[in-house]
Point group: C2
Chain length 431, copies 2
């Protein structure tokens, strides 16, 4: 037992409250596990007078963040305030002042990670971010330390608990997206800006973090495919099931080591029902990893919520405390590998397509000839008719093709008068 | 880049060969990731002249293990020789000489772990053992570091890839235990002493390691329930499926924090088909963890094989190298919690039972009255008859009862003349 590790907090919301409560109530045991004493020394909140359910002594509260990041006694700053610009400034200032920072802020990492890690290194400070991706899975530590021997040809998984919760309930209850979204909002599961969750941006932020730790490269959102779950219907889920798939919002980070091409894509995809990831439901997250040494591993845990994220933050505080006691910083993998971005339009894959057609003789022949022209080969096709509907509903899956051919096919389908409305396309995730 | 980390090997079998090959072929990248240079400096093998498929320079080979553990230049010893007594002596000697040791030897840890960790601590050496449990899952690091905030009420899972391979193929191919075991032997999947695998001892060794890192207590094999898969028939697997379960050999480490009671049990169990662990097949391992902060997490990866285990050994070498550069040792959790062992006969649970009876009037009434007398309540029961067999086959599941009541019931069933042979009992694993 040596130097006391002094911890300051920026923000005392849900997650920070969980961290505080656990460290406070289990102080003795945590002290022993950390291998050093620690002190919860200062907390910056917006409103000092607001009543809280966490017992933070009033004299530790401040509304001035500089009281935390400029305090020479504080060793570790927990940045749990969220947002990008202010968090960026304060994190940089903490580094300038020689403090290590623990964060759960994936948006900040995605947008400014390059600068932040460079500043941390320059100032010889630690920057810890386990809680930024999949709180219930120590995936940052797993990838950087446990699987240090590996290169990763693919990392994919479910990174947003809210979307997984919505999709799971739609399927289980046969309910519409709108109904379950409304319910999830009531339960407080959806970000204030719902687009972060349902349009895939939160997943993209986390994918950027995983791509960085696995491949040493920050991939900007503009270089990703990012699609959310708004357009996924209950019918799609049932049809997918018919084809032995389940629809999940996935992040898919692929790296081809021969061509040194990296791709990061976020989209709702059809996953084989027989796999593990497709059976991860509710608010749970899953990360599947293909390592060149270890083979395939899959990790499953709670995606969000106060406790799971607090567990991750506390593991980072433990590592920050170890750093104070002499632990060297981890090297980032492969940041000199010279990876470039794969051309997204050339990405190969299998696709699912749904559309309606006028139910007339020759229509199917007309449509399938457009597939042939685009070079897209159909694997399975189902046509159905509903009472009171004079259109025919067609769903199909394709053999392996690529993004570009599907785009071309969509254009030519749009030009015919055979279709009622636009075709809806999802990617199929094969092993 | 500072001090060169010199690595010696005890043993150059399958796993060590994988470690050597990977470190050798990817020397530059691994050096960068480790944050220091390393050197493969000496290798002790039984037969120096034996041809190997791994390019170890002849001048590094020795048949005298003291050339490794007494070499003042060597920093880290990889003990990958297996066996208990000799490995124990050499590991202790390495500690006396101030060296850190990396091991995959779960039998050694289970039998002598207490002494070894004490010696390592006394000599201020690191002792690393990620490869001892579930090579493809960095479970030691996950439990000790990633989930450092947690206490674990239950850790359970599939820890023996060979048994999981056998059970998976039995179910998929409708084959007998004997047929698949013979095939697994041909493929080199079974330990020379097959009892280690199929009677559950290998799983028990690994469970002892997990119990130690989670609860700070070495549980001797005598204090565990250890049952293997020899008596599991294909019929059991099919009946289990009928009841919506799948049979897996599981280790189950439970800790009741209110009563401070710990139990470690290894047995073939019926797991709910809808869960993740029951869907982990082939040579894969799974570990499911209930943490008081993080909730439930599940980790899946290859259980054995050269590459997955090599991946784990290399992560330990990286940590040993970090230790050389100043990283403090991890504290073991909770070794002062004063846990005692739960009384195994009082352990509650649901059970599956199979037996044959003479197919006569009144027999079922006679048997069910024995259940009532033992206080064991039946949940589901199926009776079937086969062509050419004058007996009736009965399988059933019970409501919650305990080990003792089931033992009593088995005795009273054995005393009646109604049964043809002994009843076969398996435990049911409920959420």
């Amino acid at each position: 037992m040596n130097k006391v590790c002094k911890i300051g907090f920026l923000g005392m919301g849900t997650v920070a409250g969980g961290v505080w409560k656990h460290l406070w109530e289990n102080r003795e045991e945590m002290r022993r596990r950390f291998g050093c004493d620690f002190e919860l020394s200062k907390v910056c909140v917006r409103d000092v007078s607001k009543p809280r359910d966490v017992p933070v002594p009033a004299e530790l509260l401040t509304s001035n963040p500089l009281d935390v990041v400029d305090d020479p006694d504080i060793d570790v700053v927990c940045e749990l305030m969220g947002g990008v610009d202010e968090a960026y400034k304060l994190t940089m200032r903490a580094f300038e002042n020689g403090k290590s920072v623990v964060t759960a802020n994936k948006a900040l990492l995605c947008h400014r990670g390059g600068e932040l890690f460079a500043a941390a290194r320059k100032a010889d400070c630690g920057y810890f971010f386990e809680a930024s991706v999949a709180g219930g899975i120590p995936i940052i530590k797993i990838i950087r330390e446990g699987l240090i021997a590996n290169r990763f040809s693919r990392i994919y998984g479910i990174l947003n608990g809210t979307c997984n919760y919505i999709l799971t309930r739609m399927e289980r209850e046969g309910a519409s997206y709108e109904a379950i979204l409304a319910d999830a909002k009531k339960l407080g599961y959806v970000e204030q800006d719902e687009s972060l969750d349902v349009d895939g941006f939160d997943t993209a932020h986390k994918a950027a973090v995983l791509a960085y730790i696995a491949h040493g490269k920050w991939v900007p959102l503009e270089d990703m495919i990012i699609e959310g779950i708004r357009s996924v219907t209950l019918d799609d889920m049932l049809w997918a099931r018919d084809f032995d798939y389940r629809i999940k919002l996935v992040a898919n980070i692929e790296c081809d080591f021969a061509s040194r091409k990296l791709s990061v894509r976020v989209y709702p995809a059809l996953l084989p029902l027989s796999g593990i990831v497709s059976n991860v439901n509710g608010v749970f997250n899953a990360v599947a990893i293909d390592g060149d040494v270890v083979g395939e591993s899959v990790f499953v845990g709670r995606g969000a919520g106060r406790e799971a994220t607090a567990s991750a933050v506390i593991s980072d505080i433990a590592d920050a405390a170890k750093r104070l006691r002499g632990a060297p910083d981890l090297e980032f993998k492969s940041d000199d590998m010279g990876l470039s971005m794969a051309s997204l339009k050339d990405m190969p894959g299998n696709f699912y397509m749904r559309f309606c057609v006028r139910d007339e003789a020759g229509i199917l022949a007309q449509i399938t000839s457009l597939f042939a022209e685009a070079g897209v080969s159909i694997e399975q096709l189902k046509q159905s008719k509903r009472a009171g509907d004079d259109r025919a509903h067609i769903v199909l899956t394709t053999h392996k093709t690529n993004e570009q051919s599907i785009e071309k096919l969509k254009s030519s389908l749009a030009e015919t008068s055979a279709l009622c409305g636009e075709p809806f396309v999802l990617r199929i995730f094969k092993k």
